[in-house]
Symmetry: C2
Subunit: 313 residues, 2 copies
């Protein structure tokens, strides 16, 4: 099966801005999507870093409608659609497929723990059959530090065999390169596209048959990540990777990643409203925000074009 037309490269789990009353801020969201696209960054809207699991299904669907209405290219979109229930997962997956999205990033049902491979197989199988659309491309989302319930090689093997077109790949956010390598070695040659969940593994992923990264930090550093994606065979690839790691560590190592990403946008867009997060998350403190700004300045970090876009909101 040809996989040439599949979505690849660098995608951002787009952070979701909120108004003072915690409702989604559609205008800022669309503007951020447009800025990311201008940086060659695809849109994995409604991922973990999008606080998607703090949004109701209807809120996700409204935001997707707004992005599509703004004319954003859905062939560069991979919305997160995995919920705990089959019913909700089918609802928002169908919605994304009907919008022509290139793929969907699908968490396993994550409430019940210690569930069997058979149970997860039945869940995904039931979802695929109910969506019942040949355009469906699922990227299985493995993020054990958060979802706890994970994706295993035997599960991928069963699903690929039963649904070779619908099962298109995965995002591995285990943070464990050996785990990514296991999936690459087992499935990459049969057209299973592996995205790493952090750009810190991007070079390794590309060297081993992977297709890109879907990474939190792509919200703030998309162009540099995309540059390594296209130049991973170049002589300076290791240096590029090190620079990416420095930015990622500066944003995500000392602070809660989602809050720090939003505060970074707030700082570089001169737009404090961007800092808002939904409970159970909390914003960075004023002191943390000040430290973050100083640390980013110290490493010479910039977000070209962002201020202009944000100013149009």
């Amino acid at each position: 099966m040809s996989t040439a037309n599949r979505i690849k490269g660098v995608l951002s789990p787009v952070v979701t801005p909120f108004k003072a009353d915690y409702s989604p801020d559609t205008a800022r969201f669309v503007a951020h999507c447009e800025w990311l696209m201008s940086q060659n960054c695809g849109l994995a809207v409604f991922g973990t870093n999008s606080e998607a699991n703090s949004l109701a299904a209807e809120e996700r669907m409204s935001l997707l409608d707004a992005v599509v209405a703004a004319g954003v290219d859905t062939s560069r979109m991979m919305p997160g659609t995995g919920c705990c229930s089959i019913t909700e997962t089918v609802k928002i997956t169908s919605h994304a497929v009907k919008h022509g999205c290139a793929g969907v990033l699908m968490l396993p049902p994550f409430y019940y723990k210690g569930v069997s491979e058979e149970g997860l197989y039945r869940h995904y199988s039931e979802v695929i059959q109910r969506v019942g659309d040949d355009r469906l491309r699922i990227y299985l989302y493995h993020i054990p530090p958060v979802a706890v319930v994970g994706i295993t090689p035997p599960l991928v093997e069963r699903l690929l065999k039963a649904y070779p077109t619908a099962i298109a790949g995965m995002k591995d956010s285990s943070g464990d390169w050996n785990n990514t390598k296991t999936f690459l070695d087992a499935f990459a040659k049969s057209g299973f596209d592996v995205f790493v969940g952090s750009e810190s593994f991007l070079l390794a992923n590309m060297k081993n048959g992977g297709v890109g990264t879907i990474s939190a930090t792509a919200n703030v550093n998309p162009a540099a990540i995309h540059k390594l994606y296209t130049e991973w065979k170049n002589a300076d690839a290791d240096a590029q990777q090190q620079r990416l790691n420095l930015v990622r560590d500066t944003v995500g190592k000392k602070y809660v990643m989602i809050s720090a990403l939003k505060q970074t946008i707030a700082i570089y867009a001169g737009d404090p409203a961007w800092g808002k997060v939904r409970p159970p998350l909390v914003e960075l403190t004023a002191e943390q925000s000040k430290s973050l700004a100083a640390e980013l300045k110290e490493i010479g970090f910039t977000m070209p074009g962002l201020a202009r876009t944000a100013a149009t909101v």
Copy 2:
């Protein structure tokens, strides 16, 4: 503040029957609720053992509407309403309060892990303010083996101080008596009602100021659990507790609890359809079902009145 009118005693996280196509089986659900009520068992519908987290919000609300329409006493009901998002939690909590339910059992938002006490406080606080109904009585749901995100004494202290009427108590499903004791010692005297999440701690809970249990096994053994609840000061209380433990261990120790509970009902109602579970869970195998039936028979287990009720479905 008087807590005399609050819901107490033995409640069952009512198992949710499904049809062959995995849709909720409303008729069997209502019949099971009615049987439980006939056994002096309150209805904690939409708990963990109800597979509530495999149901969409709309499915929960439809089932609650059906139970209420059937005339079941809502003063004996405590629906589970805690979702990952504030928006969905508020929606189904308001629905339950408007139906006159005695309380709601509220999970913390459980997707994001390692969240702060401040973040959880903001979540519950926001929910209480949005529901904005004096009748709201929240029972905080602590079930770390499944939700991973838990309820801590400092969180309870803050919430009780800010919302002394809305915060009515908790269900402790930690499986750790020391943890239950900590909450009882800290808050029981100020009118915070502690339910244990397993009847194996019922006697200990009653001796230490608790108010009852919300337990999986109450789906199949409600009368005996209620008997200990009313007779915990009697001379044979220890013997009653041991008998309860024997039944619980027989159903839940060798098998996945939810699947085994449903199969137990299937066996005693002579109604195989009851065995069905939604993915990611799987039914007991034919062999497991046979073993379970034999083990229950061996300990002389019965479900008085069940067959009659099921036969009316």
